[in-house]
Structure formats: structure tokens, C-alpha cells
């Protein structure tokens, strides 16, 4: 481990699918306790980007370093073991299972040995409540099925679980895209909670209004390329929206529309 090196450095990463360039020379960094927002329209390469980081795809070019050390994940499991947790939008929790069962699914705490080895239910419920409380949620009933929670709270369960099991980098794939305004606000608050606990967050979104209030660094992808990368304070909300919308392209469109209007008058 190199002292002072950023948590995650992504340098000149490219990915090809056949002759399609899905990701072309993308670089950015993720620091402890900071939120890096990855923005872009559909097809910009956002999902290719997170799939490379979470070990689903392997990069074709470039380098990824974690705390200064070069890493190369062959599977999602390896990425997870290295401390990179990905929360996928709809595929994170099992709706019919209770909150505490969801929280520990696949990593249940046990006590006893041999055939008497059993889940330590009290410990599981207590730990889950504590972790959720640190996210600012008071779970009154650990046995409540996750399906009865709101969309934002379900994301919270997945986020709290990832942090509890030692995630240093948390990748959130469009956590707000299916949610209403209020629920999105709740999820953004959980992102801030995660940041304050020292986790490096990668927040994937196509909504600059959601990214701007929580982001420490903004990365815009456009057609597989890095369109720009700014630190907080280097770019205003309006500029971010403008960049997202394609900047020059939008100006051109406005210009064309005005001309059309003049002609018709």
C-alpha cells in the first residue's frame, strides 16, 4: 500500500466489444470519504464503466490502482473481496424476505458447531438495527419483509449491508432513477451518510440535479469518451446541466429552432 495514494485510480481505461468502442481512454479518481459522480446519457458507457470496476468485464487497456496498487479483477467476487461493493438498482434485495434476513443473506453470523451450527438471530437483528440506525433509519420491526419498504429504504438496506461487510468503494448504479422526488432525496441522504463514514462512493446517474448536491467530483461520459472531469467548485450546476445535455449540441439545437421559428413567421 502506498501512503497517500487515492483509494481508487482509474487511468486511460478502454473497453472494446468487437469493433464497438464502449469505453475510450477514461480516467478518474475516487478518494476516501468522497463522492465521484459518473454522469452521462443512455449509451454513454456508464454501465460498461461500473462493470469493469465491479469485475463483471475486464478492461482492454489502461490501469486501475487501489490504494496505489495495481488491481485486475477477474470476477465480481474478487472485486468484492478487495472491498468494491456494487448495489444494483433492482437486484439488490429479496422482497419477500425480512429486513434482517436480507441484510445477512449469504454472510449469516452463526453460533454453535457441527449440526447445531445456527444463525445467531439476536446478533443479526441487533447488528442490522445498529447499521440502519447509523444510516439514520430506525427499524422498528426487523421481521418486516423488505418488499413492504419504500424504494429508497430498500436501497438503504443494500447500502448499509455493503458498508457493514467492509466495502471501501461503493458503486451505486442509478439508485435514484426509478424513484420519485422525495424518495430520491432520501437516497441522496444515504449517499452522504456513506461518504461521512469514509467510504469512497461512485454514484452513477443521468440526473445532474441529483448528482450536484452530493458530488465531490463530476465525471461526464459521452459516447464512451470522457467529456470532462471537474472537482466540486470548479463547475456550477447550470454548467453541469449544460454539459450533460451535450453543451455545444444544445446551443446548436436552440439556434436551429430559432431559425425555424423565424422562417415560419
Amino acid at each position: 500500500m502506498t501512503a497517500g495514494a487515492p483509494l481508487l485510480e482509474i487511468e486511460h481505461v478502454s473497453k472494446y466489444f468487437g469493433n464497438v468502442i464502449a469505453l475510450n481512454d477514461v480516467s478518474t479518481t475516487v478518494e476516501d470519504g468522497q463522492v465521484t459522480c459518473v454522469l452521462g446519457d443512455n449509451g454513454a458507457g456508464k454501465s460498461t464503466f461500473i462493470k469493469i470496476l465491479s469485475g463483471v468485464h475486464r478492461r482492454d487497456e489502461g490501469e486501475i490502482r487501489m490504494a496505489g496498487e495495481r488491481v485486475d479483477f477477474a470476477s465480481p467476487r474478487e472485486a468484492k473481496e478487495a472491498g468494491i461493493a456494487t448495489v444494483f438498482q433492482d437486484l439488490a434485495t429479496v422482497p419477500l424476505m425480512s429486513i434482517w434476513r436480507n441484510f445477512f443473506l449469504g454472510s449469516e453470523p452463526t453460533r454453535g458447531v457441527g449440526p447445531l451450527r445456527r444463525i445467531d438471530v439476536d446478533d443479526a437483528k441487533r447488528t442490522m438495527r445498529e447499521e440502519m440506525r447509523r444510516m439514520g433509519i430506525d427499524v422498528r420491526d426487523p421481521d418486516q419483509p423488505v418488499g413492504t419498504l419504500s424504494g429508497g429504504e430498500r436501497q438503504a438496506v443494500a447500502i448499509a449491508r455493503a458498508i457493514h461487510f467492509g466495502a471501501r468503494v461503493l458503486i451505486l448504479d442509478e439508485p435514484t432513477s426509478a424513484l420519485g422526488v422525495k424518495q430520491s432525496g432520501i437516497v441522496l441522504r444515504y449517499i452522504v451518510q456513506a461518504r461521512e463514514r469514509g467510504v469512497g462512493v461512485i454514484f452513477i446517474s443521468h440526473n445532474p440535479h441529483h448528482a450536484y448536491p452530493v458530488g465531490d467530483r463530476f465525471v461526464i461520459l459521452n459516447r464512451g469518451k470522457l467529456q470532462g472531469s471537474w472537482k466540486r467548485g470548479e463547475i456550477s450546476r447550470d454548467e453541469l446541466v449544460q454539459m450533460m445535455a451535450g453543451g455545444a449540441e444544445l446551443d446548436e439545437l436552440t439556434h436551429e429552432l430559432e431559425q425555424e421559428l423565424q422562417k415560419s413567421q
Partner: protein, 355 residues
């Protein structure tokens, strides 16, 4: 923030607790409704009461020995089928498996000349192998287990008839009672106890139900079964070995069905080649009546045991009432329909009620 239901946990007040007003207080009723077996329990009580009042024998200890007997031989495979259904899969070959197991054991004992116990052991191993093949095919091909095990059903049915005929020249295997070790096997698996002749299979049934309940509620495997059935993709994403869980469930189902088949064979000291055909539906009905969802992820072992009890009580109750036993199928159909409707309602209130 205090709540009478949760004061057991240490009250360490959170620094920035956001009270969520939408989280409802848990009433006893909510807790009860969350139990999958509630409906089956009420139905069992109602049906038991009905026949106890309308017939003379049903409510007696002698009568109970009759209906618990039917319930136990159905219930042992039904509990395993319930676990499999919670895990999101089906097994249509479980019924005919009871026949296959009885025949296999009978042929090993009477034709090959093995002692009873080694024959029983080998039969259970063979059943586990069939279960493994079922599970492996489902996991590898990703085909619906409905169609894969339907194929197994026909294969086993064909083997039962074909092999039995070619070896014994008839459609049955006889003479188990003369095999070395039959008596001890009969006492442990086929016999009865107490002066009212309760079948020993009832004890096995209760034991297996308790074991399955414990596995579901308190072991990691149980948590994985719920996860795999509830959402296999989510379960895989967070590290549950989905394929292993499913294959193990198919193996458990086959072994439990074989155990029931062995018990019936020992009890009668002979096996029919057609034994068990059609029972797979009774197992599935018992599991569904007991609260298992057809889509997986929800259900209970106690529920399936109660479902088997309902079927047992209905079969014997109809007999005691002197009605034509053909009515039992009408009864099964009606009770299944009611159970599916109730389950559907319960699931909708448990899953995605709010977005």
C-alpha cells in the same frame, strides 16, 4: 422512540435518527398474518372439528390413528416438496419416486439377495442420485423444473413397470417379509406403536417437520433457500451458491419421497409397480395449502405438514361419513383453489405493497 415490541434490544439512542412515520407498529395480527401456515391451521381445525362432530370414530384415538397414518405418508415428502417450492422449484417425479424406491429396495432384497438394511441404504443413495440428476438438469439447462421433472416422472414410471415385469414377471415385488433384517426395519419404519396402533411413520413425519422448520428458520441453508426462491439473481449477486442450494433441495425431495416409499413397502411387505403415481399432486397441494407460493420464496414446513394433515383428515373423514370416496377429489380441488387465492392475497400484501 420507544416501542413495546422492540424494547428487548439495548436502547442506544442514535445521534441522527430520522423517524420514519411510515413504519407501522407491529400488531399481533400482522405477525400472525405474516405466518404462511395460519390459513392451514385454521382449515385443519375446522375440518377436524366438522368430522369429529358429524362422525363417531373420527374424534377417537383409534380414528386419529387412521388419519394421522394417511397424513404421515403424504406429509414426509410434502415437507421436502415445500422446501423445494420455497426454493423456487417443482418436483413432479416425487410421487412416482416412492414407487421406484419401494421396488428398487424390494428387488435388491428379494432378487439380488441383499439384507434389508443395506438394501434400504442403497435405495436412499439411488434416490439421492435421481434427485441430483433432476437438480443438475434444472440448474444447467435453466429450463422450468416443471418440464424437467415431468420427464423424470415418465422415465421412472416406465422403469418401474418395465424393470419389475422383466425381473419378476408380474407388476409387483413380493416376499419382503422373508428377507433377513426385515423385522428390525419394519419396527423402525413400517410398524406401529401404542394400543391404538399409531403408525411409527407419524413420528418420522413429526420429526422431519421439526427438522425442516429448524433448518428454514435458524440455519444459513434455510436463509439461502428463501433467498434463492425469492430472487435468484439478487441471491447470486450477494454470494449465495444458488445452484448448490437448488440441487440439494431436489436431492432432499427425492430422499424423503424414497423414505415414504420404503415405509409403505415395509408395511405391506410388497410393492406395486404403480405405487405412488399421482401422489406428487397431493404433495404439492399439501405444500400450497400450507402457504407455499408457487412462485417460490415464501412458505413453511409446518404449513406443509398441516396441509398433509388436512388431506389425511378429509380422506378418512369422508370414509367415516359413509360418503362415496370419489368426493375426495372435489374436496382437494376446492381446498387447493381457496389456498391459492388466500396465498395470492398474502403475497401481494407482503411484496411491493408500496413503491
Amino acid at each position: 422512540m420507544t416501542n413495546p415490541a422492540t424494547t428487548a434490544t439495548p436502547p442506544t439512542p442514535p445521534p441522527t435518527s430520522v423517524v420514519d412515520e411510515r413504519m407501522a407498529r407491529v400488531s399481533l395480527l400482522t405477525k400472525l398474518l405474516r405466518r404462511p401456515e395460519l390459513g392451514a391451521l385454521l382449515a385443519a381445525a375446522a375440518i377436524g372439528l366438522f368430522f369429529a362432530v358429524t362422525t363417531d370414530e373420527f374424534g377417537t384415538l383409534d380414528g386419529a390413528a387412521n388419519w394421522t397414518d394417511v397424513a404421515s405418508t403424504l406429509g414426509i415428502p410434502a415437507v421436502a416438496v415445500a422446501l423445494l417450492m420455497i426454493g423456487g422449484e417443482f418436483d413432479l417425479s416425487a410421487g412416482v419416486m416412492t414407487g421406484t424406491a419401494g421396488l428398487f429396495m424390494g428387488i435388491l432384497a428379494t432378487e439380488v439377495g441383499m439384507d434389508m438394511w443395506p438394501a434400504i441404504l442403497l435405495t436412499l443413495v439411488a434416490a439421492a442420485a435421481v434427485g441430483f440428476i433432476n437438480g443438475y438438469m434444472v440448474v444447467r439447462t435453466k429450463l422450468p423444473s416443471f418440464i424437467v421433472t415431468l420427464a423424470t416422472f415418465f422415465v421412472l414410471q416406465g422403469v418401474n413397470l418395465g424393470v419389475t415385469k422383466s425381473i419378476t414377471g408380474t407388476v409387483r415385488v413380493d416376499g419382503l417379509a422373508d428377507v433377513n433384517g426385515y423385522d428390525s426395519a419394519f419396527n423402525l419404519l413400517g410398524g406401529s406403536f401404542s394400543s391404538y396402533d399409531y403408525r411409527v411413520s407419524v413420528l418420522w413425519w413429526v420429526g422431519i417437520t421439526i427438522l425442516a422448520t429448524w433448518v428454514l428458520a435458524r440455519t444459513r441453508a434455510g436463509n439461502w433457500i428463501f433467498g434463492v426462491g425469492g430472487d435468484a439473481v439478487a441471491a447470486r449477486n450477494i454470494g449465495v451458491p444458488v445452484s448448490r442450494v437448488k440441487i440439494a433441495l431436489f436431492m432432499t425431495t427425492a430422499v424423503c419421497a424414497a423414505l415414504a416409499g420404503i415405509m409403505v413397502a415395509l408395511r405391506l411387505a410388497s410393492v406395486q409397480a404403480s405405487q405412488g403415481v399421482g401422489d406428487e399432486f397431493n404433495y404439492i397441494i399439501a405444500a400450497v395449502v400450507g402457504g407455499c407460493l408457487l412462485t417460490g420464496g415464501f412458505g413453511s414446513a409446518v404449513g406443509a405438514a398441516l396441509g398433509a394433515l388436512i388431506i389425511g383428515m378429509a380422506f378418512i373423514g369422508i370414509q367415516f361419513s359413509g360418503w362415496n370416496t370419489d368426493w375426495r377429489y372435489l374436496f382437494l380441488g376446492v381446498i387447493l383453489l381457496i389456498a391459492v387465492l388466500v396465498n395470492n392475497f398474502v403475497r401481494r400484501s407482503a411484496e411491493g405493497a408500496r413503491k
